[in-house]
């Protein structure tokens, strides 16, 4: 018996008898019906931007397009649109009130793709401040921001306050090799500061350093995000 080229549906032979026509049509219809049951109906999608994903063997569902700026990610083993690339920052550790020390270091940092160092009212009279990554001994860190770029010998960044009191919020990539990062501006961008390391390898420690003999107040905290 002849069959169709793609799905091998049975068709009557040219020499077939007319009396078998009903059966031939039934066979063809049943074959088509079987094939169509394996297809995704066009009615599955209803809206511009709809996606279809599998929910199991031979089962599908529709996923409507996400809101503007959202990204496709996975939650609970299924794809979902997630909010605007927002970071879910977790407090890794906080210093408590700084009343001593010229260097405060968060060490043994791991497991995060981004770090955020937040200083609230850190104070050391007449001081300048530095941020150092991985206890860098020279030339492996950089900061870019505003119209100035630099790579201080040891410090990822140096900050100064006319009052001696320091507040900032700076984000780092934990493994950064001087390439543009998501959410960060170019080196000439406005209001953007990038801090990172030229060399490969994760950031495992972050230090806040004062040029004074000791911190005399304020807090510094380290947050992480993936």
């Amino acid at each position: 018996m002849p069959t169709t080229p793609n799905y091998s549906w049975p068709t009557p032979a040219d020499t077939g008898y007319v009396k078998n026509g009903a059966q031939d049509m039934r066979n063809l219809g049943n074959a088509i019906d079987t094939t169509m049951a394996t297809m995704v109906p066009k009615s599955t999608v209803t809206t511009n931007g709809d996606l279809i994903y599998g929910t199991g063997s031979g089962t599908l569902t529709r996923l409507g397009v996400g809101a503007e700026g959202t990204v496709l990610t996975v939650q609970g083993g299924v794809p979902v649109w997630s909010g605007a690339g927002t970071d879910n920052w977790t407090l890794i550790s906080a210093s408590g009130n700084l009343t001593s020390g010229a260097i405060y270091t968060f060490s043994t940092v791991s497991g995060y793709k981004k770090l955020r160092l937040v200083s609230i009212g850190v104070f050391a009279a007449g001081a300048t401040y530095s941020i150092r990554l991985n206890a860098d001994a020279g030339g492996n860190s950089y900061w870019w921001g505003g119209s100035a770029t630099g790579s201080p010998t040891q410090d990822a960044m140096r900050l100064q306050s006319s009052t001696g009191q320091l507040g900032f919020c700076i984000d780092f990539r934990t493994a950064d090799q001087n390439t543009p990062q998501i959410g960060e501006g170019a080196s000439s961008g406005l209001g953007q500061i990038r801090v990172g390391r030229y060399t490969a390898g994760a950031i495992t420690s972050v230090s806040l350093i004062t040029s004074a003999a000791a911190f005399t107040g304020g807090n510094v905290a380290l947050y992480g995000s993936n």
Binding site: I92, S93, S95, S100, G101, A102, I103, Y104, T105, F106, S107, T108, V109, T128, S130, A137, W143, A148, T149, G150, S151, P152, T153, Q154, D155, R158, Q160, I209, S211, A213, A214, L222
Partner: protein, 44 residues
Amino acid sequence: MAKTDRPLHIEKNVVTGEVTERPLNDEEYVAWLAAQEPSTDASA
């Protein structure tokens, strides 16, 4: 300045929460002294 009189380096292990204090080591102390000098570089 005697090593024991140097400023302190306070380190917090974020995994264990342990906080340790020690005087700056030689490398840190040299860098700390250098930071006392006025900066003339926009990046420093």
